[in-house]
């Protein structure tokens, strides 16, 4: 099948059996690949009510038709499962070099099923597939394990692996790859850990069929030329996502002390050019990337090397914890990577605990002796290890994520648990940015920015404005941006280098032989958006509007300092946005798809 590896590999970890079946053509046509495949398999194969950390859950790693081909940033694959953090749909995107090898091994999805009794790692070398004993790797850090396996198997193998946090069932444990790239959100690593699979190592050497080689070459070169000619390439390559730290600080979107404010009085110490000058030693890109945003850093104070910190980590573990030193933040980044936890959720959970401590909701006894004031970097270092080991009262509590931790502690701490659907909100403060707030409220995995990054639109049309047009913009973004996670390519060339979306269309047709417009692709995306909504409704009995509500902080507590001081979104506007959103999506007043909507989408 043109553009595809051609097979789905199932690994039954309970029995140790492997099954390879041809990728169904109708699946490729209707769900494209990547996150589309993941959503399809999750909905159809993981039984209702499955324990996310039990053998019934499946971890589905999928690439798309662009993966591994000559398309800018075609190094993205998707990991889907039932989320242990949220109890709903999890989909985490992974960059680097892993997805290309999946494709070159002749595969489109790797589905991990069941659970092994003993620690194992999976080796895929084209058609040779084996599970090997991972006892000697169990307990080791994710970055450490990747190096061990590279040394053992050879540099050409690409590794996706977990750290101790995933082994210990931390609900926001991640999957690491390429020494600092992660499938970070929703606890996909914890699912891998529960299955006792420490790593997947893969190498492929097969060729990929494309429908029209000349047209593919031409379309690909047009895409790369557009990247090369982009005026934004040079600054983007220089700073990557750290470019927006100063901007977020200026407009009041930089999360500060558990999102109490959106501007950080010491923020300048974390601005992109400062990070670049103080610690970055080289750029680092994913497969096929002409605009590498990854920055590799050396931390002389700590004697460590780390990929990062990128914007999200700076926001969530820097300003959000009251920490203003580039090396300190980068070392937090390193510890999270090695222990194997998502920096966004870790930053959110620790910030919540710090606020609890400063408000005397958590005593020093309850923090296991840690002086958990904002800005205490040594306490953060110690707490990351405790979380990863689920050690002591606080480590065990925060390993559950902010929502559950607040439910356990009570005393009003849920009012400042900054999460939606159980997922910690990523690093954009939304006290007065209604489109971005709606994007967080309605993202299909929880409060993550990758589905719709609408804050620029807020600034263009008015931050407080609530309008049908604004809601439509969020929905459009929720259809277009995740399409890149189905195609198996990075969206950042489009969004940061301002590439014309239409440049991707001839490439997709040349590769797959199927002519599609963006309208066609948006319809596929809408179908999958509704499918994931149905999945949530199936797994959570009370699922509906209440699950879309943001943290009360954003409609009850205006910041006292910074650009957005005194500004807040009204609760009436929160509800009005949801009404407009549900109406435009064809959902009922409780946020569930109407029968006619499902019929229109073929669900």
């Amino acid at each position: 099948m043109n553009g595809y590896g051609g097979h789905i590999l199932r690994v039954d970890l309970t029995t140790g059996k492997f099954t390879k079946t041809p990728t169904p053509e109708n699946l490729a046509r209707e769900y494209i690949g990547g996150r589309g495949f993941g959503a399809y398999f999750l909905f159809n194969e993981v039984p209702q009510g499955a324990d996310p950390l039990g053998p019934e859950n499946k971890l589905i790693g999928s690439n798309g038709p662009f993966s591994g081909l000559l398309i800018p940033g075609a190094g993205k694959c998707d990991f889907t499962c039932k989320s242990p953090l949220t109890g709903g749909y999890a989909s985490a995107s992974l960059g680097g070099l892993f997805t290309a090898e999946i494709k070159y091994a002749g595969l489109d999805s790797i589905i991990l099923e069941g659970a092994s009794a003993q620690p194992v790692y999976l080796v895929i070398d084209d058609d040779h597939i084996a599970l090997r004993d991972a006892s000697a790797l169990w307990g080791k850090g994710a970055i450490t394990v990747e190096k061990i396996l590279k040394d053992e198997l050879g540099e050409e193998f690409q590794i996706a692996c977990i750290g101790p946090a995933a082994e210990n069932g931390v609900l926001y444990a991640h999957i690491n790859h390429d020494f600092g790239r992660q499938a970070g959100r929703g606890g996909v690593g914890a699912v891998m850990g529960a299955k006792k699979i420490k790593a997947i190592a893969i190498r492929g050497t097969k060729s990929i069929p494309v429908a029209n080689l000349d047209a593919y070459r031409q379309a690909a070169m047009n895409l790369y030329k557009a990247c090369k000619d982009s005026e934004g390439l040079k600054p983007w390559q220089n700073l990557g996502t750290t470019m927006v730290v100063s901007w977020c600080d200026e407009i009041g979107a930089l999360p500060t002390r558990n999102f109490a404010a959106g501007s950080f009085e010491e923020g300048k110490s974390l601005y992109g050019p400062v990070i670049r000058e103080q610690i970055v030693i080289t750029d680092k890109g994913c497969f096929g990337c002409p605009s590498p945003c990854g920055k590799y850093s050396r931390l002389k104070r700590y004697g460590t090397l780390v990929e990062g910190p990128e914007y999200e980590t700076i926001g969530m573990t820097g300003s959000n914890l009251g920490i203003a030193d580039a090396q300190d933040v980068a070392q937090i980044n390193f510890l999270c990577d090695e222990w194997g936890i998502d920096t966004i959720s870790a930053g959110g959970a620790i910030a919540w605990a710090m606020e609890c401590y400063e408000k005397n909701i958590l005593t020093r006894d309850e923090t296991d002796g840690l002086d958990l004031k904002f800005g205490n970097v040594e306490a953060v270092f110690a707490l990351i290890e405790k979380i990863a080991k689920r050690e002591g009262n606080l480590g065990a509590l925060l390993a559950l994520g902010t929502k559950r931790a607040a439910q356990k502690i009570g005393k009003g701490s849920d009012q400042f648990a900054i999460q939606v659907k159980g997922m910690e909100q990523s690093a954009y403060a939304t006290h007065n940015a209604t489109a971005m707030l709606l994007a967080y409220m309605t993202a299909d995995v929880g409060a993550h920015h990758n589905r719709a990054w609408a804050i620029t639109y807020d600034l263009q049309v008015g931050r407080e404005l609530v309008s049908a047009d604004k809601v439509a913009r969020v929905i459009w973004l929720q259809h277009v941006r995740p399409m890149f996670d189905m195609l198996g390519a990075c969206r950042l060339q489009w969004v940061e280098l301002n590439l014309d979306l239409d440049l991707y269309i001839p490439a997709l047709e040349a590769i797959t032989g199927i002519k599609r417009s963006w309208k066609d692709l948006e319809l596929v995306s809408e179908r999958i958006w509704n499918l994931t909504r149905l999945y949530w409704a199936r797994e959570q009995k009370d699922f509906g509007r209440v699950w879309d509500m943001p943290s009360p902080r954003f409609y009850t507590e205006p910041p006292k300092t910074g650009t957005t001081a005194g500004q807040i979104t009204k609760l009436d506007d929160v509800n009005r946005m949801l009404d407009l959103y549900y109406d435009q999506r064809g959902w009922d007043a409780n946020g569930l798809p109407k029968p006619e909507t499902l019929e229109r989408l073929g669900l």
Binding site: V244, E250, T456
Partner: protein, 74 residues
């Protein structure tokens, strides 16, 4: 005493679609943007002669000032 201002992406629309405009030096980038009605909130980064600078940088004769728009986030 003049500098060249290059607004990228959506910022071009605030200077009539031009890719480069001549501006008086000896004023800050923020003042230049204000005079041209370019919203500061939409400018992610200021580069002067290919080096990042703050919006408080005071333009000098012959500077090339590039304004990079916030586009799409991570």
């Amino acid at each position: 005493m003049s500098a060249q201002l290059k607004p990228l992406g959506i910022l071009k629309s605030y200077v009539g679609g031009q890719t480069q405009v001549s501006v008086e030096a000896n004023q800050t980038v923020r003042e230049i943007m204000r005079a041209l009605n370019i919203p500061s909130d939409l400018v992610a980064l200021v580069m002067v002669n290919d080096q990042p600078q703050s919006k408080e940088y005071r333009a000098q004769d012959g500077d090339v000032i590039t304004l990079i728009a916030v586009v799409g986030g991570g």
